[in-house]
């Protein structure tokens, strides 16, 4: 059976109630291949892989490993069959060392105790075998995200994985870390391991995968070779129509400054400096991108602007109003809108219905209340208009926000923030977790606001997004603005500044 594919899924159908998550999906993974699984959010990628990993039982269909039909009723069984899965959220114990984490569940013992020496030896063997450098004695809480992911991969290999499933592995990585990961994956496949690579990022898929299977609404659209495929062709398969990948922008018409930060500093929740002497200016009619690796002070900076965190130094002016010491309400009223980086935490009240969520900024205005009494009918009527205008699907004004999909939730946030007719828009990670269609929508709206003479501060971890939307880009590193670059600069140039390099030649 040497020619049989490493893994074959035949006609997998999985239903949740009336929802068909997978409809007769076929999937074939050749030995030593990197096969990408591409699809919008909710296309059924994760369901398919959960079926493979024994977390769901398929209603119909068959799984074949090396040509042999198998039944996988639990993750334990999947591991036993040589299927390893690296989840988006790592399943490591932070206080334990790399070696301890690696052998967890299959510990080499001496008597009743863990044979730590054997464990570290096994880690060294494995990491040299696959070229995955890790320090077995380091504690997981002390190592970076990229290394943690490597530990996860090593753990799967340690358990004898021949088929490795990676669920959106680059979502948490920087560009450089992602490149490192790709190197590792190529080494692995050269050694005969087969890899399933789940993603909705087109450029990555083209970069790393040999073949791509595209899912749309639970059905397999096609399996194509990446050779000859383009981002455009893949996006078309994914969404089922032509997608504008590049944002079309008109000539810039710059106006007066709308958001000005002068020497702003702030501390994080532990009282440590998070924002250091930030000076920046956003003018009417421009999108200023703020690029940076996660946790370099972006969140604290946004909170400081929005009045959610008190600055320790500096001044903030929004639309001509000094909002340095203003609370959230005053800042919003000054004409600032805030698309929160975490819509579940700051953007929405998930237990509220859509009408209530859409009024979060304006429930106290005469339009929706009088003398302290709400007017639910007005709230619902307005919500109906907005849901239509912003093309929010899957709910009416009385639907709970929590039951919408991520993309539609984001549309609700954007609808609320843009209809407040702001002068300044702080867009933090506005497309996080969204699929291609929704991303296109968000990008188009932001550019429209720019063209209408608003000032937009775009904070994102996606360099690609920053580069394609921004008129100019600031790079933040450890709470400081370390560079201003034109968006056309190369990814490498950005990478250097984003990781703290090149500070001597720092731009003014």
């Amino acid at each position: 059976m040497a020619d049989a594919p490493a893994l074959e899924l035949r006609g997998i159908t999985k239903r949740f109630g009336t929802l068909v998550a997978n409809n007769a999906v076929d999937f074939e993974l050749r030995r030593g291949e990197i096969h990408a699984l591409l699809g919008e959010n909710g296309a059924g990628k994760s369901t398919l892989m959960n079926v493979l990993y024994g977390l769901h039982q398929p209603d119909e269909g068959q799984i074949l490993l090396d040509g042999q039909p198998v039944t996988i009723d639990s993750p334990r069984r999947a591991i036993g069959l040589g299927i390893g899965m690296v989840h988006q959220h790592f399943m490591l114990v932070p206080v334990m060392t790399v070696a301890e984490n690696l052998v967890l569940g299959a510990e080499p013992r001496s008597g009743p105790l863990l044979d730590y020496k054997t464990a570290t030896r096994r880690v060294r063997e494995l990491s040299s075998e696959y070229g995955l450098a890790v320090d077995p004695d380091a504690k997981v809480e002390d190592i970076g995200v990229g290394t943690q992911q490597r530990v996860e991969i090593l753990r799967a290999l340690f358990r004898g994985a021949k088929v490795l499933v990676l669920d959106e592995p680059t979502a948490v990585l920087t560009a450089q870390e992602a490149q490192d990961l790709f190197k590792v994956l190529r080494t692995l496949t050269a050694a005969g391991t087969s890899v399933v690579f789940i993603s909705h990022k087109l450029n990555e898929v083209l970069d790393i995968a040999d073949r791509v299977t595209v899912l749309r609404r639970g059905e397999k659209v096609d399996t194509v070779s990446t050779e000859g495929a383009t981002e455009r062709s893949l996006a078309g398969l994914m969404v089922g129509r032509d997608v504008l990948l590049r944002v079309e922008k008109t000539e810039q018409k710059l106006g007066e400054p709308l958001l000005e930060l002068e020497g702003v500093s702030a501390v994080d929740d532990r009282g440590l400096p998070a924002v250091n002497d930030v000076t920046l200016r956003v003018r009417a009619g421009e999108i200023v991108g703020l690029a940076g690796v996660d946790a370099n002070g972006q969140s604290e900076l946004i909170e400081t602007i929005m009045g959610l965190r008190a600055p320790t130094a500096g001044t903030i002016t929004a639309a001509g109003v000094d909002v340095t010491h203003a609370g959230p309400r005053e800042t919003l009223n000054a004409g600032v809108s805030h698309i929160a980086e975490d819509r579940h935490r700051r953007g929405l009240v998930l237990e509220f219905d859509l009408a209530e969520n859409l009024c979060l900024r304006e429930y106290k205005t005469p339009a929706f209340s009088s003398r302290g009494f709400l007017s639910p009918s007005k709230m619902v009527a307005r919500a109906r208009t907005l849901l239509k205008e912003f093309d929010v699907r899957g709910g009416d004004p009385e639907t709970r926000a929590g039951s919408l999909s991520g993309g539609n939730q984001q549309k609700v946030v954007i609808a609320r923030e843009l209809t407040a007719d702001p002068k300044v828009i702080i867009a933090a990670q506005p497309t996080r977790g969204l699929d291609v269609g929704a991303i296109e929508f968000v990008h188009r709206r932001l550019v429209e606001e720019r063209d209408a003479g608003k000032g937009v501060l775009l904070v994102s971890l996606e360099l690609e997004e920053i580069r394609s939307l921004s008129d100019r880009v600031l790079v933040i590193y450890e709470g400081r603005i370390v560079a201003e670059l034109p968006p056309e600069s190369s990814e490498e140039d950005f990478g250097v500044y984003m990781t703290g390099g090149g500070r001597d030649e720092r731009a003014a």
């Binding site: 994760s46 929405l348 709400l374």
Partner: protein
């Protein structure tokens, strides 16, 4: 992604959103099952003491007076049932109000265990005002005494809200401590030689307050005023339920309260003053509980003795009432009726001692109350499991 979207929970899960998730999942069925399980467990205990659980529950039901609603009741039975039902409804009144004191806090994500102290403060001020100012016009006197109780409860609970807003003090701890301060303040203030001890020469050595003057008493509209008939406080409690619903669902204040309860971070980001809400909500809770204390005093107790304060646990039932009633107006009413019926039905006066000793039966009521709280608390476990599953 593939998980049903309803399992989606905010990252910063609050008490209120957790309960909302749980209640949505359980529908109307969950509280019914809770009651059923609690009664079954209670029945097993009755069985263990060598009595017949079905007969016991029947006797408790009879003792509660709810059989008054049965059209087939004989004339004589109906007279007794009416007396029993009056007692049940007298207890329903404070239970609704202490239930609301807990429910309103829950909707803002706060756990108010201080209903007891707020109730005591309300009753102290009501008895003080109600036993003074003899000769004041009756309606005015009642209103002023009630208002005193309401304000006292509001201020008392407001302290806990203020502590939370200014210093981040956990309201569970501060309200429990305020309970004890209220209890011992009450014990002291009516004690021998203390400011509010009665000035009746025949009762110099009795640690009890003055009596409420006739003009400040709430009128009795059903039954004999001499035999503790039903006073109009029940209508005030019912009105409080309406106020609660309107406040929560139809005012900007209620909108803020619910937003803060479900997601304080989002509320803050959209400009709602979260801290001010904590103080307001606690004060309103205290107002409900304080009103409960005032109505009891002005309606049927008419005086406070120090040992009443120490042994009084009615306000704690408010927690079970609110939990069982899912923090809604109608649920609180039903929960209050249930527990009032149980308390009355198992009281020494109402339970047929040949079926089950009332002393034991009262404990049965406490056990059922405890089980209700315990069973509803398991939602923590449910949500925890749900989240674990989602992470996989």
């Amino acid at each position: 992604m593939s998980a049903p979207p309803d399992s989606e929970l905010p990252p910063n899960i609050t008490v209120a959103s957790r309960m909302a998730t749980f209640f949505r999942g359980g529908g109307i069925l969950a509280p019914l099952i809770t009651i059923l399980v609690a009664f079954l467990a209670g029945g097993l205990v009755v069985l263990a003491t060598g009595h017949n659980p079905i007969e016991t529950y029947q006797a408790i039901f009879k003792g509660s007076g709810f059989n008054w609603f049965f059209p087939w009741l004989s004339e004589d039975d109906r007279i007794i049932a009416a007396l029993n039902l009056q007692q049940t409804l007298i207890l329903t009144t404070p239970l609704i109000l202490t239930g609301l004191a807990v429910a309103f806090a829950f909707r803002c994500g706060l756990f108010n265990i201080g209903g007891q102290g707020q109730y005591i403060l309300g009753s102290i001020f009501a008895v003080w005002v109600g036993s003074s100012f003899d000769g004041m016009p009756a309606l005015l006197h009642v209103l002023v005494a009630m208002l005193a109780g309401v304000l006292a409860g509001a201020v008392w609970a407001g302290i806990a809200g203020l502590l939370k807003a200014l210093a981040g003090t956990n309201e569970v701890i501060s309200t429990i401590m305020l309970n004890w301060i209220a209890i011992w303040t009450g014990v002291w203030i009516f004690n021998l030689g203390s400011p509010l001890q009665n000035d009746n020469p025949d009762q110099v050595d009795v640690p009890v307050s003055n009596d409420i003057v006739e003009g400040a008493k709430l009128p009795v509209f059903w039954g004999d005023p001499q035999l503790q008939g039903l006073h109009i406080g029940i209508f005030i409690a019912l009105a409080a339920l309406v106020v609660f619903w309107v406040l929560l669902n139809r005012t900007t204040l209620g909108y803020e309260v619910r937003a803060v309860g479900f997601n304080p971070d989002a509320a803050e980001a959209s400009g709602i003053n979260v801290r001010r809400n904590y103080v307001m909500v606690m004060a309103i809770c205290g107002a409900f509980a304080g009103l409960g204390g005032a109505l009891d005093l002005l309606g049927w107790q008419f005086r406070i003795a120090t040992n009443d304060i120490q042994t009084h646990t009615l306000a704690f039932f408010g927690i079970a009432v609110a939990l069982l009633g899912r923090n809604t107006a109608i649920g609180t009413l039903l929960g209050a009726l249930l527990f009032a019926g149980l308390l009355t039905g198992t009281s020494v006066r109402n339970l047929d001692p040949t079926v089950f000793e009332p002393q034991l039966a009262t404990n049965l009521t406490y056990m059922i109350q405890g089980l209700v709280v315990l069973l509803i608390s398991t939602d923590v476990l449910v949500v925890y499991l749900l989240r674990r599953r989602r992470r996989k």
